[in-house]
Symmetry: C2
Subunit: 527 residues, 2 copies
């Protein structure tokens, strides 16, 4: 069901201690001043996935001697993506400036943002997400720093008005990139081909720009802390930026803002103060437990593990009620299951997989923390759910995992069954993936988020070469299309598609797309 | 000639001591927080001079419980004019706000500002002067204070975008009025009729809102320090706000930023730092000398008088070169003469009058300061110029003062001849004014600035009742049209006229219109 139609379930009391802990862990943002590299001009190009290529259009230094009047415009290229601020000194040419200047500034992550008008806007997300501003600047010359943060590589500046007496010129144009990410700790092991080195760079740039005072899902739009994004960001983070206290902070934010029944919200708002986003996603609640277990595993921080383990247990207690006597997840139909944006996707089998994984990881965590009592009955529950999945969710004739009454075949079902450890052998899993990808009617992933789980499932089944090839095609495809950071949405066959009805509201730096850096380090495909 | 075509003459060196003195005299701004009184709705009204009347449209308190979505709008009425800032707390209704809000805010001095669209803008002044802003506000609820200062009674708020999930509501809406004016020192002597009491209130409100860190000409637009406006503001100031140090500050600003030849500029910019506006207006240069003399007279500050007298003398030395051997001013045609915005006006005779007045006042000041040597030859110059004016600028047959080769009849010529003391008797002057006003072809005033000099000339000629009646008709006419402060431009026959091609760029609180308060105190028409 669409997000805005999900029922509102009462929120619980915030847990002050946990919110205070989260607050104390808020990281410092580093600000780096950067100069634009050049002026550019978008050129329509039917061969380009995003319709335009950028060509050089002059030196930024020329703007200091310019005489720009109403109707004049230019596009700055900062040569890469950042989340941050913009500043400049607006001067005047001609006579003394006798009026304010009015400018429109448009921030572009990709060429389409600055090459095309945003109007008419056809999306169903708020128009206020589109990154354009109209500003009036008094008393030239004037140092200007826009107060809002943007995600951008390009900045289009359009002069709406000066006066007859003067034109504007621009000096000391600077981006102020902000992130809480420090230096990268570890390189990718082995000898990387060029494409993989670039994919790793772009992955890390994506995580860097999403790594602010929480793990944002994207610095352009939404900017929320979602459990699904957090889990993937955390996986990439271990061994790269090692912003482990930010992971811990995020775990406490979710735990500190539970729903009345104890389920964590799928996302929380950090600003203006941490608060409920009032959206529960059943698979994300289960992934909270997975994320906590992985955090303790990666950091050895058993103290946090012990404090938050009951939250994981609570998730599984509530989600467990949606598992029937035969050990099969039953969609309650009144709650949101995410898994992927693919609309026709039957999510039952995928949820079964997510739940099994969450039980497994939480059981292991409870044992490690010497709290096995909290996970009492988990082993039996896992066995039952695996057995039922093998019986109910697997088509022996086709060798494919299926989902729902219509026995729908989807990448999501194959991936999550494998990640849950349902296939008896690696070969059973690998065959299911290969047959699914060859199956014309299979529901395919729409989001990089589900592509991640497909690749992870391939590595799990020993399909190393195919996993690497998929990374090369999918994430490398975005690089070939000019990505400086990985996108929220990428369909290689339809690079201009948007789940929101307008590509100008898509986010082109999105947390859930940054996982190649994790694969390259975790599974060491290059040595 | 249009302002932007006036030749640029090299500026001189700034005078650091005088600019430092000016800086040290910068007054403190007082900020007063004010609540909006009501919501209003403009109703088209063909009988209203500004096309609309305002009707009540609800309580401001209702906005705190509102659920305003894209397309919704309201208009606040703060119940009077102010220069200042706007702040509010933007909250959300519905679900938690999941996107920024985008608003358009339009600040109105008069109903037309908020009742009509600014587009298409047909004026030739910068579009950036129109007081509308588009703002995007992140992370609701959020306290917002717009960074720019506006001149307003009304604020129109239009919601451009929220999201499907939420609407906006407004709490703690406040205006923050700023002025350096303190309490008013003296009441109008005598027993005032209601209309005059209101005209006095509106005059003082006009001066109050223009009285910032300098005497601005108008807080909505231009905002510059012009000599012509300064002189009239200073006259009203003495005995009301007594912001005499601001007058002094302004005199030093002009003196500290002379043109290379020593002429003062017609206006200076205060911000971002005091600088030349690079416009010389010959009548304004002469009025600098008049303003200095009046300042010393009003305040007794002979020290400033002694320091700045050479600046007045310099103006008259340069302007004196434009007076021919017969003692008649000759238009050099390469400099701007203001007098009034009336396009067809021949300004020669008026300039003759302005110059005579400046010589007279400067001579008196030099004598008072015991520096008669600086004004050597002034008495003879005055006598010659008066004699020539009586001979060349007066039509004995019609009893009218005339100007230029076509012997043009204008209010400006009558007024300035009288203020210069050219008529032999009060009767000669009074007859000239009466005949001029009855003369169909006479060039009439366009600006309140010239109306001021007409009224002053009437008082000078003993036409007290006619002067009061003109104030009642002209300034009282603005009050009847709903003025909370007096306008930059007001033509009773064409209240929607604009010298700039679009009434939306007119200023409705303009310094040069505030002089009834001076007349009522100086000439005591009510007792």
């Amino acid at each position: 069901m669409p997000l805005h139609e999900t029922p509102t379930i009462p929120q619980g009391e915030p847990v002050p201690r946990w919110l205070e802990l989260a607050d104390a862990l808020k990281p410092t943002l580093h600000e780096v001043e950067q100069e634009p590299l050049r002026l550019v001009r978008p050129v329509p190009d039917v061969d380009h996935p995003l319709r335009f290529r950028m060509e050089p259009a002059g030196d930024v230094a020329s703007l200091a001697a310019a005489d720009l009047r109403a109707g004049d415009a230019f596009i700055l290229d900062f040569g890469g993506h950042r989340a941050g601020y913009l500043s400049f000194v607006l001067g005047a040419s001609g006579r003394e400036p006798d009026a304010p200047a009015r400018l429109r500034l448009t921030f572009g992550e990709v060429p389409t943002d600055v090459a095309e008008s945003f109007e008419p806007y056809t999306g169903w997300l708020s128009r206020a997400w589109l990154p354009d501003e109209v500003v009036n600047i008094d008393d030239l010359p004037q140092a200007v720093r826009l107060p809002r943060r943007y995600a951008f590589r390009y900045v289009k500046v359009e002069v709406i008005a000066t006066s007859k007496e003067y034109g504007v010129r621009f000096e000391r144009i600077r981006a102020h990139a902000v992130t809480s990410a420090g230096p990268v700790a570890g390189n990718v092991p082995g000898d990387l081909p060029d494409w993989a080195r670039r994919v790793d760079e772009v992955s890390l740039a994506t995580l860097r720009d999403c790594l602010q005072t929480t793990f944002e899902d994207g610095p352009r739009r939404d900017r929320r802390l979602w459990i699904g994004d957090l889990r993937l960001q955390a996986l990439v983070n271990y061994g790269t930026f090692d912003a482990n206290d930010v992971v811990k902070r995020c775990l406490y934010l979710f735990a500190g803002l539970p729903r009345q029944d104890g389920l964590v919200n799928a996302c929380v708002y950090e600003k203006p103060k941490p608060t409920y986003a009032n959206i529960v996603t059943l698979d994300y609640a289960a992934l909270y437990a997975v994320t906590l277990a992985e955090y303790v595993e990666a950091t050895g921080d058993t103290e946090t593990g012990r404090e938050l383990l009951p939250v994981s247990v609570k998730q599984l207690e509530i989600l467990g009620k949606l598992v029937n006597a035969e050990g099969m997840f039953v969609d309650p139909k009144d709650a949101w299951l995410f898994i992927d944006w693919a609309e026709s996707l039957d999510r039952t089998t995928a949820l079964q997989g997510v739940l099994i994984l969450a039980y497994r990881r939480t059981l292991a965590l409870a044992r490690r923390l010497q709290r096995p009592g909290l996970a009492a009955g988990y082993a039996e529950r896992i066995d039952a759910m695996v057995a039922t999945a093998r019986r109910e969710c697997y088509d022996r004739e086709t060798g494919l995992y299926v989902s729902g009454p219509d026995r729908q075949v989807s990448v999501a079902s194959q991936a999550w069954m494998i990640l849950a450890g349902v296939p008896e052998t690696q070969e059973v899993g690998a065959r299911a993936i290969r047959k699914c990808l060859a199956h014309e009617g299979a529901v395919r992933p729409v989001t990089p988020y589900l592509y991640h789980y497909l690749v992870e499932a391939m590595f799990t089944c020993g399909m190393r070469d195919e996993a690497v090839e998929l990374i090369r095609q999918y994430w490398g495809g975005m690089v070939d299309a000019g990505a400086d950071t990985f996108w929220e949405v990428y369909d290689p066959g339809k690079p201009l598609s948007s789940p929101y009805g307008d590509i100008h509201v898509n986010s082109y730096c999105h947390a859930w797309s940054c996982t190649p850096s994790y694969f390259f380090r975790k599974h060491r495909p290059f040595g």
